[in-house]
Amino acid sequence: MSRSELLAADGAATAALIASGEASANEVLDFWLERAGSDALNGYLWRADRESARRGVAADGPLAGVPLAIKDIFCTEGVPTTAASRMLETYVPPYTATAVGRVAGAGMPMLGKTNMDEFAMGSSNENSAFGPSLNPWDHERVPGGSSGGSAAVVAGGLAPWALGTDTGGSIRQPAGFCGIVGLKPTYGSISRFGMIAFASSLDQCGPLTRSVTDAALLLDVLQGRDRMDSTSVGIEGGIARPSAERLDGLTFGVPRGLIGEGIEGGVLARFEETLLKIADLGGTIADIELPHAGHAISAYYVLAPAEASTNLSRYDGVRYGLRASDEDLLSMYEVTREEGFGPEVKRRIMLGTYALSSGYYDAYYGRAQRVRTRIVEDFDRAFGDVDFVVTPTSPTVAFRLGEKTEDPWAMYQSDLFTVPMSLAGIPAISIPAGLARPDGGGPELPVGFQIAAPAFAEQRLLDASFALEGAIGFDGTAALEGGVA
């Protein structure tokens, strides 16, 4: 099997090569380990060798032998897990996350642990304590975040597919920026056990892949009830391989009120073209209102930091991770946390603690929770009229490194279209919709198209995405060599 054939194969195609005997599992693993070893994107924080890649991995299964990359937020027994934080720089977990156990149980070796924004807080990967991951389409630009490393290694030909997590857009936005598929499933469909917590009512595991078929295959492996996570319920009936070619009888709602200012011309052009393709496939386009979605970012930046401030109180220098002082107990806590956390994490801990503090709780946290209810109601109402809600994944294409780091609120706007679905807990996917130049000029870069569906309607979402993917015919091969030195 030639190297170019192995590189060209997505997860499903690689599984088929192994099943037919055209390529051996050893050959496939060696090829991808060598690719991962020439990472020019700072996409990996830890890389496996032949032995460690297969540790605990089942010999059989429909996806046996197809390796994958795992975001460094998933605990992996015996393998460093840092969440891209100095706080956990030397941490080696004594247990494995359920999601990782499930892919290992399906026979998939682990190529390595991918770079991310520290504790998944960020939209550019620039908040990693170990330096940003780079976009394979243009190394001067960000891959998005927080699952930026996972998106970069898949788009840049350093892994066939990867696991990520999405709290407010952390799978979909980097998938959009890197020209791949990213799926945030319904909250509760995949266990969160062993996934280092950021905002527990929003965090959800999901796949980053080169194709919609791959997203479906991984979701089927990952989903399911887990007694270690009492909020996990799984997806009844599992997920079948998508095969739809048409969109007849399906209605796609466009929240025009949300898609206004701050959106780049090229992004809007690709979005409108994709709507025409939906119509060509027999789908209906309808304008809808999500009256409160414009407040989603504000609500999210109260709720997520509030949850984060409590979740991250566990990093106290006592049981694991960094300890930076032995002076007295209080100093030990304060100095450890001061030295262990980066600026964005501190900002969110401070914001969340403020929002939960005496005298401000009702004005911020309580109000944001009620606005969240309004947003849930908006989607419920919309889904009474339409099957899907569609938006661009992000208002812009991938921006330059350093372009938004000085202004936190400008960075947060990157998740304008992805946060409403997170607050509602519903599934949403980003598929590549073509290339566009940024406003003000620059290279042609990928544009993501987001499709959201009602809770647990993943099968319908993946079927429609599959049909649309075929009509768009996006070609990501230009980036595949962008990942190697």
Partner: protein, 96 residues
């Protein structure tokens, strides 16, 4: 507007010993973020129930039966300062 004193108060609650530069920077950044967040006041939330969780689940129960947990040595293996089968921490009082 978040004043310096409020930053110090919240930092104390958060167990963060901020540097002088961080205190000033955070006062500005938090003020600016909260200015945006204050737009939530425009939303009519009269009579609206808060959402803390979106999955329609309640009272997930399991039998209350003892089962093995992490081995003590394993649990202590990542501790910065394990001693006598426990997590050792500095004294609550600074030594004088």
């Amino acid at each position: 507007m978040i004043e310096r004193e409020q930053v110090l108060h919240v930092a104390r609650l958060s167990r963060l010993r901020l540097s002088e530069t961080e205190i000033d920077t955070l006062a500005g950044e938090l003020s600016s973020i909260l200015d945006h967040v204050d737009k939530l006041a425009e939303v009519d939330i009269e009579g609206v129930e808060p959402t803390s969780h979106v999955v329609p689940l309640e009272n997930v129960l399991r039998p209350d039966e003892p089962r093995p947990s992490l081995d003590r040595d394993v649990a202590l293996s990542q501790a910065p300062d394990p001693a006598d089968g426990a997590f050792r921490v500095p004294s609550p009082q600074a030594e004088s």
